[in-house]
């Protein structure tokens, strides 16, 4: 479209900027989660993740030592110590809650008890008194401190072990892989029959597959669960594999049939003339040629099964050992509502694999979408 008559550079800029804003808008939510998953619990609670790359200011107070810590020096009673934790730097300090940032580092101030207090920039404080100290608790020093941005992988360790996400990861993988592989096999044969074999009822069956594409799987939950119980499968992996196979088949058959029907007729006809059986044609010609479509569906099914919550909730048990990652995530949302370091980290672990698959195989995903919607519509 470059070089089009009347194209002005302002328009190009406008397009670039609006595209950038749109992309930003779509990326920020996920970015916030990723950044937060590496942040320290206290920092998440005290500042927004978008501020996490600059030093964060915190306020609070510490207490000085008490009578017991006092030493005598040059005729004065002295208590010494340091108010800062590691990595912090002092911005301001004070002695009264009402005005916690009244004094600059290095200033010397008289407290309400008539003592002299100095807090240096490095956090060292000196409290002196001409007479012995009499206090049960240390004097309060209010602090405004700055902490540098701090990122940690500790959340990941905690979530994978203590919160049981490691186990859930294995469960999800166990559900996903058979539930992706088996429907492909079954669908490939069916799609070949629908695309290249002549038999009565073929059009009707194809129409039925298109119709079944949109059946809400909510309709299937109760009848199937009862059926599984009656034939002795019950709740478990076998049941969920079968269920996902059934639910994934219409799309698989539909996508593969649409693809196979576009394969060159001559290749198949000449193989038939050469005396190849249908089974040989399928295995030697159709299957290798259909690789792009098989890959498209494999990605769809993988993402769908990996991300599914409803089918897993219904067909697998709900004990801690049986939960898949979406199940754990949902449970954590209930039980750890405010602990964002846990939630963000868990969520990121659960979406990491689909994202990796997505970025690695995007080409096939797009191709599959186009085959499913534009061509077949």
């Amino acid at each position: 479209m470059e070089g089009m008559a009347g194209q002005k550079s302002t328009l190009v800029w406008a397009v670039n900027i609006s595209a950038f804003l749109l992309v930003l808008l779509w990326t920020i939510p996920t970015l916030g989660l990723l950044v937060s998953s590496f942040r320290d619990r206290d920092q998440i609670a005290s500042s927004g993740w978008w501020q996490s790359f600059s030093a964060s200011e915190q306020t609070g107070f510490v207490r000085t030592g008490t009578d017991a810590d006092a030493v005598q020096r040059d005729g004065l009673y002295v208590i010494e110590g340091n108010v800062l934790a590691e990595g912090q730097s002092l911005v301001a300090w004070g002695t009264r809650a009402r005005d916690p940032g009244a004094h600059q580092p290095g200033e010397t101030v008289e407290t309400s008890d008539g003592w002299q207090l100095t807090v240096a920039e490095d956090g060292a404080y000196v409290l002196t008194s001409p007479t012995p100290f009499e206090m049960r608790r240390g004097e309060r020093i209010f602090l405004t401190t700055k902490a540098p941005p701090k990122f940690t992988a500790a959340n990941y360790q905690r979530v994978l072990t203590a919160e049981g996400l490691g186990r859930a990861f294995m469960n999800t993988l166990t559900v996903t892989i058979p539930a992706t592989v088996i429907p492909i096999l079954i669908a490939a044969f069916a799609a070949y029959a629908l695309a290249w074999m002549r038999f009565p009822g073929r059009a009707l069956l194809t129409a039925a597959v298109v119709g079944l594409l949109v059946v809400p799987l909510q309709v299937a939950l109760i009848p199937l669960l009862r059926m599984h119980n009656e034939i002795g499968i019950g709740k478990g992996y076998l049941g969920i594999w079968l269920a996902h196979t059934g639910f994934g088949l219409p799309l698989a058959i539909y996508l593969l049939r649409n693809y196979m029907i576009g394969l060159p007729r001559e290749v198949i006809e000449s193989a038939r003339v050469d005396g190849a059986t249908e089974f040989q044609i399928f295995r030697r010609i159709i299957l290798p040629l259909s690789f792009p479509a098989l890959a498209s569906f494999a990605i769809f099914q993988f993402l769908w099964v990996w991300n599914d919550l409803l089918v897993a909730t219904v067909f697998l048990g709900n004990t801690r050992e049986q939960l898949v990652m979406t199940g754990v995530l949902r449970e954590l949302m209930g039980s750890k509502g405010g602990e964002w370091e846990i939630l963000a980290t868990s969520a990121f672990i659960s979406i990491a694999v689909p994202l990796a698959v997505f970025f690695a195989m995007q080409k096939y995903l797009v191709r599959g979408l186009l085959a499913g919607s534009v061509k077949g519509g």
């Binding site: 479209m1 089009m4 008559a5 328009l11 397009v15 595209a19 749109l22 779509w26 990326t27 939510p29 996920t30 916030g32 989660l33 500042s47 927004g48 993740w49 892989i177 058979p178 088996i182 079954i186 044969f189 069916a190 029959a193 038999f199 059009a203 194809t206 129409a207 119709g211 079944l212 949109v214 059946v215 809400p216 909510q218 309709v219 299937a220 939950l221 109760i222 009848p223 992996y237 076998l238 269920a243 059934g246 088949l249 058959i253 059986t277 249908e278 991300n307 919550l309 409803l310 979406t326 949902r330 949302m333 963000a344 969520a347 979406i351 689909p354 997505f358 979408l369 077949g376 519509g377």
Partner: protein
């Protein structure tokens, strides 16, 4: 580790079973009617009548057991009482009509149905048009498309973090409330605001579905014949006119496909509501309501099934439309 071997052996058994079925049944067929010898022609004809059904057999079995039978069974169950012991006719359906929660769900589903496909398609169209015209367009497309790979539950966490609320005066760690307070407003508990909270939930699905719309529409936009655009520009059409009067009308068919595809997703929306509000504060939707009746407290399979059938009825027009489209293309 046990789990690992269970998974591996299932894949092996499943794959081996499938292959054994297809290979074995084909071989037996060729034994019964060998494609050679005196009756070769006759035998091949007979075998070819049976073979499609061998190829289709497992698929038909699965589709019947896992999709067709459940629809019939659900319908039958929706005519019965809570535990299926007594036939009650249309009682469950007439109860639905009078139930406040059901009406709320229907209202919300209709809101979702109006807002989500419209916004997703609109944003998708804008994104497609913008990213097609810039050099880094493919990266931009990838990033807008990315939420498609994220689970609804994961998206729920992501967006709940954005809607996070802290009392006024505290540091806001939710992006939305931070923006609102930075502009001088009061922080809100977004997910409990009546009616508006529905729109905050819808935003999550729009965020996910826009990438899908963009990918399809971008392909359609690129398929528009250049001559039509060039002719319009020569006639002095502005970029806006080119877009709305030349391009959009030509991809109307694709827009319809995108719209209906998203509509189906919307009708079945469950996870987002389930994990973010669980249907509280006036955000109930049909799929979640059905889940409540089927799996929470004392299950009522009759009422749950009735809601499932309502869902089924709502998608039926789209199903018919799809079938007619597919047949027209085939014929």
């Amino acid at each position: 580790m046990d789990l690992f071997w269970l998974a591996v052996s299932t894949i092996a058994v499943g794959v081996f079973g499938c292959v054994a079925w297809f290979w074995g049944s084909n071989m037996i067929l060729d034994r019964i009617w060998p494609p050679r010898g005196p009756n070769a022609g006759d035998n091949i004809r007979k075998a070819n009548q049976v073979r499609p059904w061998l190829f289709l057999g497992p698929a038909i079995l699965f589709l019947t057991l896992y999709l067709v039978y459940p629809v019939i069974d659900s319908f039958w169950r929706s005519l019965h009482n809570a535990n299926g012991s007594r036939f009650v006719g249309g009682a469950n359906y007439s109860w639905l009509l009078g139930d406040g929660k059901f009406r709320e769900s229907m209202r919300n589903n209709m809101l979702w149905l109006l807002v989500v496909p419209a916004l997703s398609t609109l944003f998708g169209l804008i994104a497609a048009q913008l990213t097609d015209r810039i050099r880094w367009g493919n990266i931009g497309k990838s990033l807008i498309f990315m939420p498609m790979a994220i689970s609804f539950v994961g998206a729920g966490v992501i967006w709940k973090f954005i809607y996070e609320y802290r009392a006024a005066g505290e540091t806001q760690i939710g992006l939305l409330n931070w923006i609102v307070t930075s502009l001088g407003g009061q922080p809100q508990i977004w997910l409990t605001l009546p009616v508006w909270n529905n729109f905050f939930l819808m935003l999550v699905l729009v965020w996910i579905q826009t990438g899908f719309a963009m990918v399809i529409l971008s392909a359609a936009l690129r398929g528009i014949p250049e001559e039509t655009i060039e002719a319009a520009i020569l006639d002095g059409a502005s970029p806006w006119q080119v877009f709305f009067k030349i391009k959009v009308p030509q991809i109307m068919g694709t827009i319809a496909v995108v719209w209906t595809t998203i509509t189906i997703v919307v009708l079945k929306v469950f996870d987002i509501v389930f994990v973010m509000t669980n249907g509280q504060w006036g955000t109930q939707v049909l799929a979640n309501l059905m889940y409540d009746w089927m799996f929470r407290g004392t299950p009522d399979y009759g009422r749950g099934s009735a809601i499932a059938i309502v869902l089924m009825i709502l998608v039926t027009p789209i199903m018919i439309w799809n079938i007619r489209n597919a047949r027209r293309e085939a014929g």
